[in-house]
């Protein structure tokens, strides 16, 4: 009988611990990309990125609608959706991965930590395994994740015609800035 009680207590604690493992969400993450060439500057922002972070396992994921990228020039936005990422066929870009140096990050203590994130980035129907550096900032119960990396359009089967090749930087600079709130 003692064994039953003991194991029940242990299991309950484990189970409760499982519940209290912090999970974080954001529905207004910011992802933008930037391309600067002598011919043209292209900048597009998306402030409606849905994101998930599981601090116990280091799982991080985000999902972005291509059509929510806002360009300064309407024609660029149209061409981005129609000709490049083909939003009608591939409406979303997604990422799911792991923080590989989870032990270096203390989610309960305020501070800025370097993070190495590894996972699958899917754009335009093509999935690539990538490893990138970023930062995780813990501030008053919120988590701010930031990263900046390069994306080559041809890696994701996005064809840039020869005529406009010198107008678009390769790789494009992609920046991620997400403020997570604890999941309720």
């Amino acid at each position: 009988m003692k064994r039953i009680i003991a194991s029940t207590v242990i299991l309950m604690t484990m189970s409760l611990a499982g519940f209290s493992q912090p999970k974080y969400l954001s529905r207004a993450g910011h992802i933008w990309f930037y391309s600067k060439t002598p011919m043209e500057t292209i900048e597009a922002h998306n402030n409606q990125v849905a994101c998930f972070l599981d601090a116990s396992k280091g799982t991080i994921a985000f999902e972005v609608l291509n059509k929510s990228f806002k360009f300064e020039r309407a024609l660029m936005e149209e061409h981005f959706n129609e000709n490049y990422v083909e939003s009608a066929k591939f409406p979303k870009a997604t990422f799911k991965g792991q923080i590989t140096n989870l032990k270096d990050i203390n989610f309960t203590k305020d501070g800025i930590y370097n993070a190495i994130i590894e996972g699958d980035l899917s754009i335009h129907g093509v999935t690539k395994h990538i490893t990138q550096k970023g930062t995780i900032e813990v501030a008053k119960g919120k988590i701010i994740a930031k990263a900046k990396f390069g994306v080559k359009p041809e890696d994701y089967n996005i064809i840039i015609p020869a005529l406009v090749k010198e107008k678009i930087a390769n790789p494009l600079d992609v920046s991620v800035d997400i403020t997570f709130d604890p999941m309720k």
């Binding site: 998930f52 300064e72 129609e82």
Partner: protein, 309 residues
Amino acid sequence: MKRNHVTFKFITMKHIANIIAVLLLSLPLLSIAQKDDDIFGMLDSLAKPQTDYATATFKSSRVITGQSVEQMKEGQFEFRIEHRFGAVNSGFYQFYGLNTGTIFLSTEYGVKDWMMVGLGHASLGNTFNGFVKLNLMRQSKGMKNNPFTITYYGAMTADGTKADPTLTNYFADRLGFVNQFLIARKVTNELSLQISPILIHRNIVPAAFDQNNIYSVGFAGRYKITNRMALSAEYYAVYRSKDNSVKYYNPLSVGVDIETGGHVFSFMLTNSVGMLENQYIAQNTGRWSKGDIHLGFNITRSFTFYGKK
């Protein structure tokens, strides 16, 4: 024998209870594990409800010669050059139509995303043209569901030819007016269709029997063959009384659109040499069956005056 008996007893007693406890207590863990497997499903449900508007129903603001539902966005400026050569049946001396032609130049501007204005000049009839295009409804799905994009097109033309000294000439006689509704649907990513009833009023007509008001319905479509290339066709069915001074024919055009960044090139074959509504719809004399076919092109160049922040 004894050991077996003990083992049996051991399993029946405490471990069944333990197993049940483990199963019960791990249920919440299981449900979390399941959630992790379907992170994107959860992120989908998290995303704000969106309205997905149909964009790029046509490649440019004209299907071929007639208007399309597309218009310049706010702050966007476009310069447009349209050209129609002579008829291919005009023989070798006219180099099968390429020696002659008419031209239409236009500057067009997006005042608001829903409002566009334009000012142009056509060499045919030395005609000046001013227009406004107002978007009334956008095709969308999601939060808002609309099956069609509807745009109003209103234009005024002024004939700039020299006055006939044998007549009393009023300025009002030079004017013509166009009212049109453009109703389009992007059926699939490739196929777009448009129907466009139009009323053209001319203050003066060539002969007493000619109608001042011309009613017509336009039918147009485009099919994308690649992301940057599309085929298009356009036809206007015109209602005419039988008493017209000259026999007129309905305009039919087929074309190809090629888009390269800020330019759109359109090449077409058409039986109409005019490029304004009161010319190609109201008084088109060309017939496909007689070989009155004109090669033509439209070239547009877009500039952005200012963009959205």
